[in-house]
Every structure is written in structure tokens, then in C-alpha cells.
Point group: C2
Chain length 189, copies 2
């Protein structure tokens, strides 16, 4: 009996998460309504709030489905590693679902501390492979000691994010190569 | 009689814009409700929609109060000009109202073509002084011909935006200087 009840709980949780994720993709975080999630998933609001203590808690759970970072490349030089990461990021920015949803998280983070914590967690996960390749290059003596890894990351990731969400320009290979080349030149000198 | 009617129209338009701007600062673009603007300003929805054809049209009008860019500096070198602009931008990102509201515009632009046009207009206005100093430096032979101005802008503005809205790191003078120095080094070589 316990098992059947457990399965029912899992099924209703999955239905709520799937519907929340659907709304997230369609309207961003601010467009998600618990009333509408309840109606579309057929799970009562009481049950939803039994599983998730707040709207933010449910959003955070749904956002964890947005996907994580890939394992860090290991091509032998910092330039090659950064270029591989930047190229993957550029592609994702122009095609992946998370690139459409991310601004809604950034916006909500301005006013909601729980969403700000979600933003920080997502950012940390996305940047982990960058930290990995920079630290490995530092071990090889490719990064001058005074250069913080976060400076290098800002110099590579910042221009890509800027083009996707602010200037709305295409991110082509020429641009990605130029950004990485400038960052590497700055690290070495 | 016409004049009195005109003044009344101006007063009610101003009340609607002021209330919309107040909500914009408080909740971002997605938090603005015409019902609530009507209630708080005391102007009927019918009248609001007589002055603005759509919710987006009103939002665009309210966003024009967010402030514009300052005139371009002219310090004699591209490095000094870019540093002056970057320093002002860094300060604004950490203190100005528009920095809190901008992510809501970027988010809404993902789904609303009218807001996307607003984002493009704001972006063009904010970047105009950067274009001005880069073109002036190009005239002095400080920028190699093959380097697009938009690359230089992405290399300076991108990392600042990234720190403010994505990594949530402090933007201090050391960072701003390092970013500008790397961009200038890349332009010259």
C-alpha cells in the first residue's frame, strides 16, 4: 500500500514539474502561475504546496531541468580549451531552451532572494568547466599568477552573453575566435 | 475650453506615466498591470487605452524615463575615452534604477516584438558614445581597419553587464581597468 501511494505521489510531482517546465519555456519565470499549473496538471494546489513549500521552491526544481554544463575539454592549451568552451556556449546561446529562459531568472533575481540563489547556483554550474580549464592552465604556467580566473571568464563569457541578450547580434565563429584570442593574449602578457 | 481639456489630458497622461514608472522600478516590466495603473492613478482604463494603443506602447513610453547616455568623452586616446565610459557605466550598473529594470526588458524582449524593439532602441542609445569614441580613434589611426567597433564594445561592455546581472560580482576600478586595457591591447596589435 505504501508503494502505491508513493507511486501516486511521484506521478503527481512529475506532472506538476512537467507543466511548470512547459510554462517556464513558454513564458519565463514570471509567467508561471500556480493556479494554471494546478489546472493543467490536474494536481490540487494543496498537494502542490505539500511538495514544494513555496512558488520559488517549485521554480527552482523546474529550472534544474534546464540542463547543466558539459565536462571540461582538455586540448593541451588554454586557448584551445577556452575556444572549445566558448564555441559550445555560443551554439547553446543561439539554440538551447535555457537561453530563452535565463533572462527571466536574472530578472526575478533582482527582487527575489530565493531566485537570486538559483541564479548563483546555475551560474556556478555553467562556469565550472571554465574554472577547470583555467586552473589546469595555471598549473602549466600559462596564466600569470596575478590574473584572477574570474577576469578571464568575464572576458570570454561576458561578450557572448552581451551579444545574445543585449545587442542581439549574431555570434559567429569569427567573433568567438576574436574574443578568445584577446583573452588569451591578455593572460600571457 | 480646448486649452482646459488639453491640460486635463496632459495631467492624466502624466499621472499614468508616473504610476507606470513607479511600478516599473518596483517590479520590472512583467509586474506592471494596467488595472493597477488605472486604480492607483485614478485614470480609467478606457482613457489609458485612448492615449496608448497597447500595454507595450505605455511600457515603452515609461521606459524612456529611464535615462539616456551621457555625451562621449574626448580625452585624446581611445584607452582614456573607453575607460571614462566604462567607469561611468560600472557606477550606473551598481546604483542606477535602469540597471534594476533592464533585465525585465531583456526578458520580455524574448517573447514580445514591441519590447524587443524597445530593447534595441535603448541599446543603441546606451552604446552611441562608445561608437563615437571608437570612430574618432579610428580617424586617428588607433584602430586597425579590420576591427569592427561592435567587437570592441562587446569586449568592454560585455564583461561589465556579465558581472552585474549574471555572476553578481563587484565591479571595481581594478576590474574595469583590466577589461579596458585588454580591449585596447587587442585593438592595437
Amino acid at each position: 500500500m505504501v508503494k502505491i501511494a508513493d507511486k501516486r505521489v511521484e506521478r503527481s510531482k512529475a506532472a506538476v514539474l512537467a507543466e511548470t517546465y512547459r510554462q517556464l519555456k513558454q513564458s519565463g519565470i514570471s509567467g508561471i502561475s500556480i493556479d494554471e499549473v494546478s489546472r493543467a496538471s490536474g494536481v490540487s494546489k494543496t498537494t502542490i504546496y505539500r511538495h514544494w513549500t513555496s512558488r520559488s521552491a517549485l521554480l527552482i526544481d523546474a529550472c534544474s531541468k534546464l540542463g547543466g554544463a558539459s565536462p571540461p575539454p582538455d586540448m593541451g592549451t588554454l586557448g584551445a580549451d577556452l575556444y572549445a568552451l566558448a564555441k559550445t556556449l555560443a551554439e547553446q546561446l543561439q539554440t538551447a531552451t535555457w537561453a530563452t529562459v535565463y533572462p527571466s531568472i536574472v530578472d526575478a533575481a533582482e527582487r527575489d532572494p530565493e531566485i537570486a540563489a538559483l541564479r548563483a547556483g546555475l551560474h556556478e554550474a555553467f562556469m565550472a568547466p571554465f574554472h577547470a580549464v583555467i586552473e589546469r592552465a595555471r598549473g602549466r604556467g600559462e596564466v600569470r599568477p596575478a590574473k584572477p580566473a574570474t577576469d578571464v571568464i568575464a572576458a570570454v563569457v561576458g561578450p557572448l552573453f552581451y551579444r545574445r541578450w543585449f545587442s542581439n547580434e549574431a555570434i559567429d565563429d569569427r567573433f568567438t575566435e576574436a574574443i578568445v584570442a584577446a583573452a588569451v593574449k591578455d593572460i600571457l602578457s
